[in-house]
């Protein structure tokens, strides 16, 4: 354990001896739209298609002094996918791909958080197309602090590579890189 972590654990033990450490809770900044869930998939092996989900919501709790206690839950409206092409989006919403009519939401609920020297690792259950699988997302805590408007914010970026076939998407889609840029406002 590093000296700083040791010190913080020591003071946490003194100050919070009567109860568990209370991590700060954050709501993803949907009203201000400071949160982005984007994906990048190969097109024929020649280039990439980049898109995202426009409607999602969620919250997380994070305490820099005790990152292991971090928790995240996010719900995505699958029908809000957007690749800047109405006909392709319609096809992606159909039962050839996301089958939005049968599976309107995609959800993620964290199960663990490990801090590391070169970035952190967030594990959790991703449910998509009715299939739940554990995924491990590489995350980086970008920063936190007061905003100019009376709030307190904390933000992360993360990425995870998902094998489309694991969730019942066509085999040929291959690996999809999902990128997350999430800012939360303390509640």
């Amino acid at each position: 354990m590093k000296p700083a972590a040791l010190l913080s654990a020591f003071f946490s033990a003194i100050f919070f001896a009567t109860g568990p450490v209370l991590a700060a809770d954050y709501k993803i900044d949907i009203p201000g739209q400071h949160a982005f869930i984007t994906f990048k998939a190969s097109h024929l092996g020649y280039s990439f298609v980049v898109g995202g989900f426009n409607d999602f919501d969620g919250k997380f709790s994070h305490d820099p002094a005790n990152p292991a206690a971090s928790k995240v839950s996010v719900t995505i409206d699958a029908g809000s996918l957007d690749t800047n092409h109405a006909e392709r989006d319609k096809h992606l919403r159909s039962d050839d791909f996301f089958d939005v009519a049968s599976y309107p939401t995609i959800s993620f609920d964290s199960t663990g958080y490990q801090a590391g020297p070169d970035g952190d690792r967030l594990t959790g259950n991703l449910t998509m197309l009715g299939v739940t699988r554990e995924v491990a997302i590489d995350v980086k805590h970008i920063g936190e602090g007061k905003d100019p408007w009376g709030g307190y914010r904390s933000g992360f970026s993360g990425n995870v590579e998902i094998d489309a076939a694991d969730f019942g998407l066509p085999q040929w889609v291959g690996k999809v890189l999902v990128e997350l840029n999430i800012e939360g406002v303390r509640i």
Partner: protein, 186 residues
């Protein structure tokens, strides 16, 4: 002269008087807020809260405007004052009508700016007005131009409206201003 609830042939009733001054306070507040908030720097403490206040007041103002229109139908305006020319009477009617129409269009264009991407407008975090129209080409920018220039036109009309009221009061020395203030005739 006793002021009734309804308008009479001779003067405005309390409801019309209250609606007029409520609208006056709201319109001046919204114009002031609007002119001030658009100049705020992103890092200003009021950058988010003043537009929120402006939108919340603006959306509630729709109810006042609707009531005003309905009340004009229910309780017609008093007859023009004796001694005013036909031209003045026509001009007054035109300006009153324009004030109402332009105000309504400003509120509508403001709504179209904020809902251009399909987001709802929160009214004091109390309830939300959903988006309806999001398909106008370049909707936020074009509605913004309409909102801005109609607001400038409204400011000019308000100045004209106030100047006319003062002219009637101090130069013509008639009861125009006293009628809308609910003060007895001289």
């Amino acid at each position: 002269m006793k002021i009734e609830l309804h308008n009479t042939a001779k003067g405005y009733g309390w409801i019309a008087i209250a609606l007029h001054w409520l609208s006056a306070v709201i319109i001046l507040s919204l114009l002031g807020l609007g002119l001030y908030m658009v100049e705020l720097d992103y890092y200003d403490a009021w950058y988010n809260s003043l537009p929120w206040l402006h939108k919340s007041i603006g959306m509630l103002f729709v109810l006042v405007l609707l009531f005003q229109v309905v009340w004009r139908g229910v309780s017609p305006a008093p007859e023009p004052l004796a001694g005013t020319s036909r031209l003045e009477q026509r001009l007054a009617r035109l300006v009153h009508w324009l004030l109402l129409a332009i105000t309504a269009l400003i509120v509508l264009s403001g709504y179209l700016i904020s809902t251009a991407d399909g987001a709802a407008i929160s009214v004091f975090d109390w309830f939300s007005i959903p988006a309806t129209v999001s398909a106008i080409p370049n909707q936020a920018d074009n509605s913004g131009l309409v909102h801005r220039y109609l607001s400038y036109a409204l400011i000019a009309l308000v100045v004209l409206h106030v100047a006319a009221a003062l002219k009637h009061h101090f130069i013509d020395r008639n009861n125009t201003l006293r009628r809308i203030l609910g003060i007895a005739d001289r």
